[in-house]
Structures are given as C-alpha cells and as structure tokens.
Symmetry: C2
C-alpha cells in the first residue's frame, strides 16, 4: 500500500514563492542571522499569507531537540499528582516545552513501556514521580536508561529517589521527614501526647519516612507512640476508614491522629462522625498533602502542604540544566520544606 503523503506547505514552497533560498526563509523563521530588512518583510508576508508553521519533527531531527518532555506518574486522577503536573506544565511552558503525560497505574510494565516510548520520541527529558521510585527497597529496572553512559536522557525524580545510578539523575523532594517533625510540634503544642498514625503502606517511601520521623520526633518530645496506635492500610479514603475502625476497636484511644494523607484523613474524620465521635473535639486529625479534599470535609483538614510550585519549577529547571549540560553539582538533590495549613480538624486539648 502506498503511503499517502499529505504534503502540507513546506519551507521550500515559501522559498520558491519569495524567490529566495530555503536558508533565508529559515533565517527569518529563527531570527538566526542577519537578513536584509526588505527580504525579511517579503518572506514574512508569504509566511503569514499561508499561515505557515514549520514542522517541528523536521526541526527536531536536525537540532536534536524536540522541546518535549515526558512525565511518568501513577495516576493523574490522584489530586496530588495533578497539582504537581500542573506546576510542571506551567514551568515547562516557560522553557518552550510541551509535555507528554503517561499514567502507569502503578504497573511496572507500563513504567518500562512508557520510558522506552518517550525515549523513542526523543523527549528532551523525563520526569518521574511516584511509582517504582517510591518503593523504598525495589531495585529499579526501568531506569536502565540511566545506565547509558553516552548521552542519557536527563531524568529528574520528584519525591522519590534511586539507589542505583542516582548519579545520573537529579531529585526534588518535599521534606516529609521534617514535615513530620512540624506535625508533632504542632500537635504537642496543642497539648497532645497521645498520637496515632493511620494509613500508608510499609515499603512505600513516604510511609517509611513518616513513620521513622514520627518515632524520632516522639523521642525528642518525650512521648511514645504505642504500637497499637499505628494502623497501616493504604493511601485512600477507604484506607482511612478501615484503619480508623481498627483504631476504634482498641480500648486505649489517642487524642490526636496523624493520617498518611488527606484522603485517609477524610475517611478517618467521617468514620469518627459516623460513630458519634466529634472532630476535633474527641480526636484531632492531621493530614498530609493539602489535597482538594482537605478543604471540603467537615471539619476541614489541617494538613501539611507540599511546595507544589517549587516542586514543579525546580524539577523543570533541573531538567533544562541537564539538557544544556550545565553541571547541577551537589545541589542536584533538593529537599524542600513543607508547610502547615491550619484548618479545623485539630484543637487544643
């Protein structure tokens, strides 16, 4: 079967109509070197007449720059990822880059697949968030593009880290460890010393970090986290519900609850209310992430917010430094402070 060529108008057509060479048209398009004003105008006129836009494929083929970057994340329906993505796109726009979005649904095969796909599409860089890079102990296979010694595609990881080959990629993270300290400081400041931790999942980075930080903070503030007050489940609303139900089954009860994230916190709050407890009167509940849901529960959730804007803009600027082979140096692993957003779910004891 013959390929049907949709010969759109090309630079050669423009050149012919202007009686100039393609080089001149190209110069006008890119403002790359001096063109006599008179010629410039003549060419521009024809460009406008046909509303001619250069083919970015052809351009990219020669320049080795596509001005496209790829973002790989688990699920864009998750509000956290959506917020980060929005900031990434906003930042990319400033660098003239457009972004591919790939959802892996936490399927490792899809992670690998998309990594390859985007590389074939010659993206200038790759941003990874969540997924395998959030697994504390997994040896990451899909980042074998980082192993390539020659001209690897620049990779930046947001809120995750790589144990192997990390020298080939930069990371930008929210400092969840420190954030947990803030959380504990805030709650102890309100008089709480009996604190539970609900939700999350062992082996996932943000859970492991938060738990470790919580234990360390407890030691600093001189109280203990009872084992039976730690109920892991997952990162969902339902996870919050089930963890809270387990907690309520204990005879000893805390006065404050730290949830792995806002979705779980919402589940926790609603479970309390359904069972006749009041929030924050009977339990103070603290969330993480500052998701959309945090502002829409009753009571609304006091939470630790990610520095979304910075997360996106720094990641994109890192990518561009790497693209332009500027050394990022030792600052290539940045940790950003999270900040508390006070709402209604926590109360002085």
């Amino acid at each position: 079967m013959d390929v049907i060529r949709k010969n759109k108008i090309s630079i050669r057509d423009i050149a012919k109509e202007c009686n100039v060479s393609v080089a001149t048209v190209s110069r006008v398009l890119n403002n790359s070197s001096a063109v006599k004003e008179q010629t410039r105008l003549r060419v521009q006129k024809v460009i406008d007449k046909y509303n001619y836009k250069p083919n970015e494929l052809a351009r990219g083929l020669y320049t080795q720059r596509t001005k496209s970057i790829g973002v790989i994340l688990p699920e864009i329906t998750n509000h956290f990822f959506a917020k980060v993505f929005l900031e990434i796109e906003r930042a990319a726009l400033e660098y003239g880059q457009t972004v591919f979005l790939c959802n892996t649904l936490s399927d490792y095969k899809l992670e690998d697949f998309y990594t390859e796909r985007l590389t074939e599409k010659q993206v200038d860089g790759l941003l990874l968030l969540g997924g395998r890079v959030n697994q504390t102990k997994t040896n990451i296979q899909y980042v074998n593009l980082l192993k390539r010694e020659v001209f690897p595609t620049p990779v930046v990881i947001i809120n995750g880290k790589l144990d192997n080959y990390s020298e080939n990629c930069a990371t930008v993270s929210s400092d969840e460890y420190e954030a947990m300290y803030q959380a504990v400081q805030y709650l102890t400041g309100l008089g709480h010393r009996n604190i539970a931790f609900l939700g999350g999942k062992k082996g996932i980075m943000s859970t492991d970090i938060k738990l470790a930080a919580l234990k360390a903070a407890a030691k600093s503030y001189n109280f203990v986290i009872k084992k039976e007050w730690i109920k892991l489940s997952d990162y969902t609303y339902q996870g919050g519900v089930s963890a809270m139900n387990k907690l309520l089954a204990e005879k000893d009860k805390p006065t404050a609850i730290i949830a792995i994230n806002d979705e779980a916190a919402a589940g926790i709050i609603n479970t309390c209310i359904s069972k006749g407890y009041r929030v924050p009167d009977d339990f103070s509940v603290l969330g993480f992430d500052d998701s959309f849901i945090a502002a829409t529960t009753l009571p609304s959730i006091t939470t630790l917010s990610h520095p979304y804007k910075k997360l996106g803009s720094i990641a994109v600027s890192f990518i561009n430094d790497m693209i332009n082979e500027k050394p990022i140096g030792k600052d290539k692993n940045i940790s950003l402070r999270m900040s508390i957003v006070e709402r209604q779910s926590c109360k002085r004891l």
Copy 2:
C-alpha cells in the same frame, strides 16, 4: 555556536555492523516485508546488542504519522477532566498513541497557543474538552485549524460543540439533558416536587442545558421550579456554599436540591450541616459527575455519572477513524447516556 550532535546509534550503524543495507534493517524493525530468517536473526541480534530504538522523529517525518495526539483541557486538577483523560490515554495506548496534555486554565490565549503548538508538533489528532467549546455562544476562534480545507488535523470534541465548522470535527458527549430528566424522575419518585437548582453559570453549556432540561422535565412531571430556587454561582465547592447560603435566606424552602456538580453539592451539604440542617432528612441533594468527592462526603452524594470509559474510548476511536480517513458519517456526533449512582444524599420524602 556549533550545534552539538549527540549522534546516538542509528539505523546505518546497525546496517554497517550487519553487513546489510539500511533497508533490510528497516524491514526487520517493521516486519514490513520478507527477510531471510537467517538475516533477520543476525540483524535482530545487533539491534538487541545495542538496545537500538529507532528515532520516532525521523520515522514520523517520512510516514507523516507521529503516533502522538494532543489533549487540550482547562485544568487537570479538576477530577472530571482527570478521569476523562485517564480513559483517553488508556484508549490511545491501544492505538499505539502517546498523548500530550495541555492545560489552558480556561485562558483563551493558551487554548490558541497550544492548538498551534500541537499542530506544529504534527500530532495526529486533537481532543478538546471544556474551555471555549463549552461556552454556548462564543464564536470559536481557536479552532480555525478546522477551517483549513486541506488536510486539517482531526479534531474531536468531548462534551462540547462547535457552531461553526462543525462539519470538520466529531463530538462525543454525555447526554446531560436526558440526565436531568433522570434526576427529576428519581427525585419525584422519592416524592419531591419542590426542587431547587444550585451552582453553575449562565452561558456555560452544561448549565444552560441542565436548566433547560430541568424546566422541561418540571413541565412533564407537572410541577414548577420557583425562580428564587435557582441560584447560579459557579462549579466549585465555594460556589455551592454561597448558592446554598442564598437559598437558605429564602423563606420558602425546597425539599430537594439539584447541584450543578458534585463539588457544589459538597459545599451545599456542608453548609446545611453547619447550619444545623440534616441531609438527606431536611434536604435531599443530588449531584452531577460522580467525582471523587461524591464518595467522600458525609453523607455521600447521589449523583449522575458520566460514561467516562466510553467518552474516552469513542473519542479516540473517532480520532483514529478521521486519521485513517474513514468516513464517520452522521454518527460523528454521539450522545451517551449518563447513569445514576445512588448513595446517601437523597431520601424519600
């Protein structure tokens, strides 16, 4: 400044190492025509050895297919758009397509800008949702790519429509008019005849359609919608709050409330509860969209769900029909039925 070429390994390198022509390597890559098994294996071996992946830019330049499609929408942080996007991507994957995501933040300039950008990037098709196409009366400028008589980029609009140039694009929509009929039938079935409508904004398609449908349905079911029970605001949680506050200021009160969407419904419910009313005992509240929030409020929201999966898969299949120049015929404007999801926010009178 000299351009630095990152000469990655190319098809010519592979060909040389195998002592065959580039044509043969290309044939192996694409399984396009018979290659002697022995040769095939030899070539494949070298391909694997270098983990060689063909450059999609070069391929696309010749084939005039990028296997990329673009999605333009207002804001991915909006759960409705995120859900649709996820389905689009899933469907695109089956066609071997990867997708660019562009957020316009409802800025018309950005809509135009991205439309142009994506066209320059030679996307095989464009999917539009929300934004200007959701404005009932605006004359759409940015779809002037549809005006091109020769080889226009295929465009499919999801939940929107175009007044001009619509013959050049297909549409896939949720039938919100019929959905409102379902809503009214459901509420009247529960004995409600005093129904309010809160949220939304005049001039936006889904508001205008729903209002018109509500009035028509009221007529069919023989009741009237009081003017003072229609409080427009917007599509947000806060919009629900403010509309509900206005409604509560009226001395005459309805028994059921239809919200423009679930976010507004959440605001409405929380406002009721904050003011000492009970939902669904004092007010039944019905939402639209089946957003994430609908399952996480207390009470959870009974709502009309979009056919997300179909919305995405049909849109993508339309795009591909257009790409392959298959005539879509008169079915190119499809309207899909929404379905009610019963939760806890509505109750028999």
